[in-house]
């Protein structure tokens, strides 16, 4: 019964902002121009206003205040513009999120933390940043937006299973509610017609080792970034740290403990500088 209610909530979730979707598809087009991006954004006033706010954050380190969308797009460069558009488009879904014992805005803070960490890891491991990875990371916990309405009333039940069986919160969520927040995120991604690789990274963000016959580095990077934010308590809910550690992540990226700790330090610095990202509405 809860399951049916959840599916109904997925059907009723507002559409993904057209501008954010359009910009996402531009990423795949090698010929996209700055004018294309400006054209898309200028019709969405909420996104345009947020873009300016984000662009003027210390994270992007611009020396002069940016006044127009065209200016913002010129100054930031394509990758950063995409990031700013996606953050501005996605934030509204998290703003009202309840559940997991989290105060308003905390799930958004967590999502921004994971997105920033995903870029630090990608830079360290692959020597490049990746706007598509960033967008997916922002959305990895989108399932919690709906799940949050249901998980709190079943919390003690879920918690008891976590402690008695020693399984993860995700697995216990599935047992008690009939679906877990990652799978639910996948359903939302389908509803929004996201590309398959993004949907897959959302569904498997706690278990990238279970991705069927495939290799999805972005899922692994989001997994690592998520663990880092969970451990550091960034937007940490009452599900706590009850998620599985997968040592395969280290082998795969030849990553040392020390590298991981250094990246965590950088992420906390970025989060401090990206405060405007947290304030957008």
């Amino acid at each position: 019964m809860i399951y049916d209610e959840i599916l109904k909530s997925v059907k009723n979730i507002p559409a993904f902002p057209a501008a954010a979707l359009k910009v996402m598809s531009l990423i795949d087009d090698p010929d996209f121009s700055i004018a294309d991006v400006v054209d898309v954004i200028k019709y969405d006033q909420a996104i345009a206003a947020n873009i300016l706010r984000i662009c003027n954050s210390a994270y992007f380190g611009l020396s002069h205040k940016v006044e127009t969308v065209r200016d913002a797009v010129m100054r930031l460069g394509q990758q950063n513009v995409i990031r700013a558009v996606e953050a501005a488009g996605v934030s509204k879904f998290y703003k009202k999120a309840k559940g997991y014992g989290l105060d308003a805005n905390k799930l958004w803070e967590h999502s921004v933390g994971v997105a920033l960490m995903s870029q630090i890891l990608s830079k360290r491991i692959f020597n490049c940043e990746d706007a598509r990875l960033y967008t997916t990371a922002l959305l990895h916990d989108i399932g919690k937006v709906i799940m949050g309405e249901f998980v709190d009333e079943s919390f003690m039940k879920i918690y008891d299973i976590v402690s008695s069986k020693g399984i993860s919160f995700l697995e216990a969520e599935g047992e008690v509610i009939g679906i877990d927040h990652a799978e639910l995120g996948g359903k939302i991604a389908s509803q929004w017609n996201f590309p398959a690789d993004m949907r897959e990274a959302i569904v498997y963000h706690h278990r990238p080792d279970l991705i069927p016959n495939g290799d999805n580095n972005n899922a692994w990077l989001i997994y690592l970034a998520d663990q880092a934010c969970i451990m550091m308590g960034i937007g940490l809910g009452n599900d706590g740290l009850a998620y599985r550690g997968l040592s395969e992540a280290i082998v795969r990226f030849k990553f040392r403990q020390r590298d991981f700790e250094e990246c965590i330090m950088m992420m906390l610095g970025d989060l401090e500088r990206a405060k405007e990202l947290l304030g957008i509405v």
Binding site: G101, F155, M156, Y159, G166, S168, Q227, I230, M231, M232, G233, I234, G235, L236, G237, N238, D239, G240, L241, A242, Y243, R244, G245, L246, S247, A249, I250, Q257, R258, F260, E261, E262, I264, M265, L268
Partner: protein
């Protein structure tokens, strides 16, 4: 009563009996509270990593980030308000870990070890402790009484004795 929030990699000390120091959402990080009942001085540190050798420059800028630089600074900051090491009561909470199949993600465990080693070396007894496991913790210390309270999702609020 006024609540003073201590963020990640931060510490605060107070001798104002109206103050409650609080730090939210301790995952693998550890909250260290100290209190001198005679001077009525208390402090709270929220450190995130065990060892400052990871980045000595960062540790210089922000000693509260690491166990080995944050804990000494916490004590010294209390001495400035007249606290005495012999009277200081220490309580700690946090250091949780994810369900691990390797040592890779054991920052919580490493934080606990580094902290305890430091206390042993300096002959400091830990009076109250709630560490490890995989839960999210919030810690409060009341400067008027030195009482420390711990909040978790499954146990609610309880005093850490």
């Amino acid at each position: 009563m006024s609540e003073i929030v201590i963020g990640i990699s931060d510490l605060k000390v107070s001798n104002n009996t109206n103050d409650i120091l609080v730090t939210y959402a301790l995952g693998s990080c550890i909250g260290v509270t100290v209190y001198d009942p005679v001077a009525k001085v208390g402090g709270l540190l929220h450190f995130m990593l065990p060892d400052s050798s990871l980045d000595p420059q960062k540790a210089g800028e922000n000693p509260a980030m690491f166990a080995d630089t944050g804990i000494p600074l916490l004590f010294k900051s209390c001495y400035k308000f007249g606290a005495d090491k012999k009277r200081m009561i220490v309580r700690v909470a946090g250091g949780a870990s994810i369900l691990d199949d390797s040592n890779f993600f054991r920052i919580g465990q490493k934080n606990i070890t580094a902290m305890k080693k430091l206390f042993w070396k300096n002959n400091v007894l830990i009076e109250g402790e709630d560490t490890g496991s995989n839960c999210n913790r919030t810690v409060y210390i009341h400067i008027s009484t030195g009482k420390v309270f711990l909040k978790t999702a499954h146990n609610g609020m309880r005093e850490l004795i």
